[in-house]
């Protein structure tokens, strides 16, 4: 839908493309808009555009968007308070962290924090700290949604450990993506430089802008078949700022992430138009790249394909431990194994 692309391009230099205020919204689009804005997490932008007169929708739709924005912001604030609590808990134990995605991008990249809602707390810790991080959060009352497959799995192979505290989901990341592309990242690279942002008078560590762009590309390209437009907007906004393209190229080569970047660029161009710097658009997808992405783009349960691809991406010395953990998790019997593994695919 053209209006979604124009909304997601707001504040991004796209002079050749239609502006939001020039797009006619007929009754059919007006009627479908709220659900699409929720799906693509563009409610905040739409609310701002209604206020500035750039988005002309019916009164009924405008009221529904504003009401939904109020609700989203209330939820977002509760998550932000939890983020502060998690950061304090980890810093008290001298665990280094980087706040990822939602709150960090809302405060450092979005035009105004109210543009961007988020649904969970995302923090990155070093692989060597993930067990202690989980223990610290458990001591504070959090519980993990799934047990560790086998001792040492989180530290060596997991993308993240998902926990819950006071009805807020906390994703403790070890790396930026599930599956083989997550395993070829060197996560400690992300602790070399840092950005910061302030919330409630506290300064929090996050990725620097270049690393945020890499993460946004990995998230959009590998997170789902059809990423939310807000995630593509993140890429466009980040790329429009001061990022170190040489460092991106170095990281992509070192992390073997050419296919990831190619897909991220393709997704942004398809949905938002030509809004990326030419240097980023050099990332394109070869047929080999598309094959390597196939496990991520399957319909339904992608666990078996991702597990198989992960196994092939690992060094020979790690394959037995990975295969044992994935194939025979601690505490499961063969009858339940398939069900358990399906639920756990997210942590691969």
């Amino acid at each position: 839908m053209t209006v979604l692309g124009a909304l997601a391009r707001m504040d991004v230099d796209s002079s050749e493309l239609p502006e939001l205020r020039d797009i006619e919204i007929n009754d059919a689009v007006d009627g479908a808009l709220l659900a699409l804005l929720i799906q693509h997490r563009l409610i905040g932008l739409a609310a701002r555009a209604i206020e500035t007169g750039e988005l002309n929708v019916s009164n009924e739709t405008a009221e529904a968007i504003v009401d939904r924005h109020d609700m989203d912001m209330a939820a977002t604030l509760r998550i932000e308070v939890m983020m502060l609590r998690v950061a304090e808990l980890l810093e008290t134990e001298s665990i280094r962290l980087r706040v990822l995605k939602g709150s960090a991008l809302a405060h450092t990249v979005a035009t105004t924090p109210s543009d961007r809602s988020f649904r969970d707390v995302d923090v990155l810790v070093r692989s060597s700290d993930i067990d202690q991080t989980v223990a610290v959060l458990e001591a504070a009352g959090a519980s993990r949604l799934q047990p560790e497959l086998r001792p040492g799995f989180d530290r060596r192979f997991a993308k993240s450990v998902t926990m819950r505290l006071a009805d807020v989901e906390i994703d403790v990341h070890r790396t930026l993506a599930p599956g083989p592309f997550g395993l070829t990242i060197f996560p400690d690279d992300l602790f070399l430089l840092a950005g910061t942002f302030a919330v409630a008078g506290r300064t929090l560590p996050t990725l620097d802008r270049t690393d945020h762009l890499l993460h946004a590309c990995y998230h959009a390209a590998l997170g789902s078949q059809t990423p939310a437009m807000t995630n593509l907007r993140d890429i466009a906004l980040l790329a429009a700022g001061d990022v170190d393209l040489d460092r991106i190229n170095d990281a992509v080569e070192r992390w073997e992430g050419q296919a990831v970047m190619g897909r991220a660029v393709e997704l942004v161009r398809e949905s938002l138009g030509d809004v990326l710097p030419p240097a980023l658009c050099l990332y394109t997808l070869s047929s080999e790249d598309r094959s390597s992405l196939a496990p991520y783009l399957r319909d339904g349960d992608r666990f078996p394909a991702l597990a198989g691809a992960s196994l092939r991406a690992l060094p020979a010395s790690s394959r037995a431990a990975y295969a044992l953990a994935v194939g025979l998790p601690v505490g499961t019997n063969p009858v339940d194994r398939v069900k358990v593994l399906s639920r756990r695919y997210k942590n691969l």
């Binding site: 206020e51 912001m73 604030l77 308070v81 105004t112 924090p113 109210s114 409630a200």
Partner: protein
């Protein structure tokens, strides 16, 4: 002189010059409207009543009496909502 200090909180602007504020030790956000969002924002930088009134007066064109009354009403609302602490 009495000072007015914000409690630690997170906040978001809403459509219609409203602001949603959530104390770090609470679970339910409070919506500020009317003159309260302005006073809440001004309290980030100043804390004494004459200064608050002076800053708000630089934003709006109402008479000093109207500004002062509005600020005092907003402060009362913020104190009642436990978002601002009055310190003698």
């Amino acid at each position: 002189m009495t000072t007015y200090v914000r409690v630690p909180a997170v906040e978001r602007a809403l459509v219609g010059e409203r602001v949603l504020v959530l104390r770090l030790d609470q679970d339910t956000p409070i919506e500020l409207a009317g003159s309260a969002p302005t006073v809440w924002s001004v309290l980030e930088d100043v804390s004494e009543l004459p200064e608050i009134i002076q800053v708000v007066a630089s934003i709006y064109t109402d008479t000093p009496e109207v500004i002062a009354a509005g600020v005092e009403e907003a402060l009362r609302h913020l104190i009642d909502a436990n978002l601002v602490v009055e310190q003698p």
